[in-house]
Symmetry: C2
């Protein structure tokens, strides 16, 4: 960090798991400071982790433009970001973690139009997937054009699949873990480039608390046959007590790996693997958002406006250190 630079002023928009993770992450980055937390809830009801951080209602944001360098949007991809990111990119530099894959082109177009018009820099879809995993898919293809890319997720708690379980009638609570199938992983790591079905790549393990009077077998059937979520997988369902759920399944671990397996000549196989093993999925995602906020600030200062993704950001821009320091220490 160059001590002569003023700290980068980050505004946190939304204060769920991701927003709290951003708060923690900024504490680890001395070149950044929290300009404020902005919420749609009653600001008086929100408890920041950091002493002295101010909480404001969302509608105060527009009036705080001169106190903020970059917004980190911590809302959801379904209801919040499709509206917030384009709206706020008209006035602010920002980072979001939009992860609805099929809608990325439309989201990019909407944010780009706003950011180009407002001369701001807005980076979408940061995190680990999309995010770090996406970078490794691009690098893998570029370095080994004759090859195949495999993404495995887990072992990890899937929020979407846990929500799906909890919507089943007769379920009082539950979580779902996504588990890569070890035999598939071994095959991919060996460089043989297998063709793998959905079922061959991942397994789904569910831990379910039954509602009073619910029929366990009916609940199990409803889960394992659920279209899209479970029917294409080998799914196990284990019934546990509410106490056990609270005690043993409160963490949000996740991770996974991207493997590119290819040949540089007929004789020579090459395997590249990028692997994450995360005790806390939201805290890691937040750390990625914070590092990209630094890059966004620098790109905005350099006049590189418009919508960006992780594919557009040189690695050095993520580091607080100078290019000369990075070359000397880490190249």
């Amino acid at each position: 960090m160059n001590d002569k630079q003023p700290a980068i002023r980050i505004a946190i928009v939304g204060h769920g798991n991701l927003g709290r993770g951003v708060e923690s992450a900024i504490a680890n980055n001395p070149d950044m400071t929290i300009a404020g937390i902005y919420t749609r809830r009653d600001p008086a009801q929100l408890q920041p982790l950091t002493a002295g951080v101010s909480v404001y209602p969302m509608d105060a944001l527009a009036g705080h433009k001169d106190r903020i360098d970059v917004l980190i949007l911590c809302g959801g991809s379904k209801d919040d970001l499709p509206r917030q990111s384009p709206e706020l990119a008209a006035q602010f530099n920002l980072v979001d973690s939009f992860d609805t894959h099929a809608r990325i082109p439309a989201h990019f177009a909407a944010v780009d139009a706003a950011a180009q018009a407002g001369k701001t820099t807005a980076l979408i879809s940061a995190g680990w997937d999309p995010g770090m995993f996406s970078i490794n898919r691009v690098l893998g293809e570029a370095l080994l054009p004759d090859g195949a890319t495999y993404t495995f997720w887990g072992k990890g708690l899937s929020q979407g699949h846990s929500d799906a379980i909890r919507r089943v009638s007769g379920v009082a609570g539950g979580v779902q873990y996504t588990i890569p199938v070890p035999e598939a992983v071994d095959q991919v790591r060996s460089g043989v480039r297998p063709q793998l079905t959905t079922r061959e790549k991942h397994r789904r393990d569910c831990f379910v608390v039954l509602a009073p009077g619910a029929d366990a077998e009916a609940v199990r059937q409803a889960i394992v046959t659920m279209p899209h979520y479970f029917d294409e997988y080998d799914t196990t369902v284990q019934f546990i007590s509410a106490e056990q759920l609270a005690r043993e399944h409160g963490a949000m671990p996740h991770g996974g790996f991207v493997i590119r397996s290819g040949n540089t000549s007929a004789a020579n196989k090459q395997v590249i693997e990028y692997r994450l093993q995360l005790d806390s999925n939201p805290e890691f995602t937040s750390s990625v958002l914070v590092a990209y906020a630094r890059a966004v600030h620098r790109m905005a200062q350099a006049g590189q406006f418009g919508c960006k993704t992780v594919f557009d950001v040189a690695p050095g821009l993520l580091s607080p250190q100078s290019p000369a320091e990075l070359r000397e220490r880490l190249l």
Copy 2:
């Protein structure tokens, strides 16, 4: 690949293992073509792998400026690149694989002066270490500021250590493999951030052919006590026949991993691992050089002149695909 773009014309300077690897790699990249191979040897004695590729003497290069987009320098870091890279960067866009770590700042300065003056783009120190491993060291620190980074190399054949063995009196031939110590790797992967000595991280296994009449024990002692190369490691020496050396140790496998282990909060450990498992070290290095040649061509077209490193290159620039395609397929 956009079919309307003319192919990127690559000149290969030097035709050892790396130069031959670049030739192979370009065959896997349809948006590129070989403008020629340039050599200090007698061009008539050099056999390209690719039919129809022309071989020229080094001094023809200056006159071929209008047929070449990017040079890939395939010489050594000790004698060739310190002179060639600055000299050629005055006239050409180029990529080199300069890997003498302590001299990178001086090499950068010399190449930058030439490239700024000549309005060229010259990327130094591409490959996997320096190169892909360096990127992962920067990303690891940026994403997990409270953490520790570990680089392990191998299992792989070390050219430098094999050369050192062959200089020992009484040695007719030999190779050295660098092996990460499994216990150290397991500790690092667990997230405990151990302090590891040089000896605890890597082992060195040597396979040696004795010269006629040489004293095996004296040779073994000379190897295992050799300062810098072997004295700080647990080193094994196994004596084999010349036939066995040729039959079993002709390949150049390598690889290794960069692990960043850190905390995002007191409770939550996060581990990031980037791993390479390479049947052919020079062919993979060459593939990296070729992908960076594509980025250099684009940066030069965008007027981004001067000396660059892998830290300055956005991932998307390495891919033949358009930004929109990458966002749709790989984000």
